[in-house]
């Protein structure tokens, strides 16, 4: 019984972690290109 609960919690944590990583990878920004040397 306890093993099942712990396994479920760990699984949930992994899913949340993966979703956070996915959002981090997908999040966008506004990027300034480096200045060109003349």
């Amino acid at each position: 019984m306890w093993i099942a609960i712990v396994a479920l919690v760990v699984l949930l944590m992994v899913v949340v972690l993966l979703e956070m990583l996915r959002r981090r990878r997908r999040s966008g920004g506004i990027i300034a290109a480096p200045r060109r040397k003349h």
């Binding site: 966008g28 506004i30 990027i31």
Partner: protein
């Protein structure tokens, strides 16, 4: 009349092919040249819940149109391999995200923190200025003419910029035109 648009509205917009009518990607990063005052291109995400970053990029030259709901391209071939794109678009430096950067004049006045970039659709995606959040919490629009420097966390602008700051986007285009006329520069031709 040109249409002003905040660049953050483009982030996460679908990229739709005119040929197939399908959304083939999603906008991730908006890349611009502060020197040239124009948009250069986009990095992309794959479409779908568990999908990540897409290796292909989209230079602005290959954009068919930009609307409120989607960025349109002619066909899938417009999403090109980074090796075929300019370095600025292919390898955008992650440490040059301007959101959250301080805007400081060369006279030493802090104008606020960048919250967005103002684009002008119709004139080859010109970048006309920044939306900044001032110390008092209000949002203002700062014209971009030539930027003296962009470091990791500070954008330096000429002191003359202060006079042309506007609180509404509606009067901003006129302020930018006046600013450029006064300093003798057209859009995209900084000193």
């Amino acid at each position: 009349m040109a249409v002003l648009l905040l660049a953050s509205k483009l982030v996460h917009l679908p990229v739709v092919s005119v040929d197939s009518g399908e959304d083939v990607a999603e906008i991730k990063d908006v890349i611009y040249s502060p020197e040239e005052g124009r948009l250069l291109g986009f990095t992309l995400n794959k479409r779908g819940f568990l999908k990540g970053r897409m290796s292909e990029v989209l230079p602005t030259e290959l954009v068919h149109a930009v609307g409120e709901a989607a960025v349109m391209i002619d066909n899938d071939a417009c999403l090109i391999d980074p090796s075929a794109a300019s370095d600025d678009v292919a390898k955008p430096p992650a440490n040059r995200n301007v959101l959250g950067n301080s805007v400081v004049t060369d006279g030493g006045v802090r104008l606020g923190v960048v919250t967005d970039l103002v684009l002008e659709l119709g004139r080859s995606f010109a970048v006309t200025g920044y939306q900044v959040k001032a110390e008092d919490g209000s949002h203002r629009f700062v014209p971009l003419l030539s930027q003296l420097a962009v470091s990791g966390d500070v954008l330096m602008v000429p002191a003359a910029t202060e006079e042309f700051i506007r609180e509404e986007l509606s009067g901003f285009e006129l302020a930018v035109d006046k600013f450029r006329a006064q300093t003798g520069h057209g859009a995209g031709h900084p000193s």
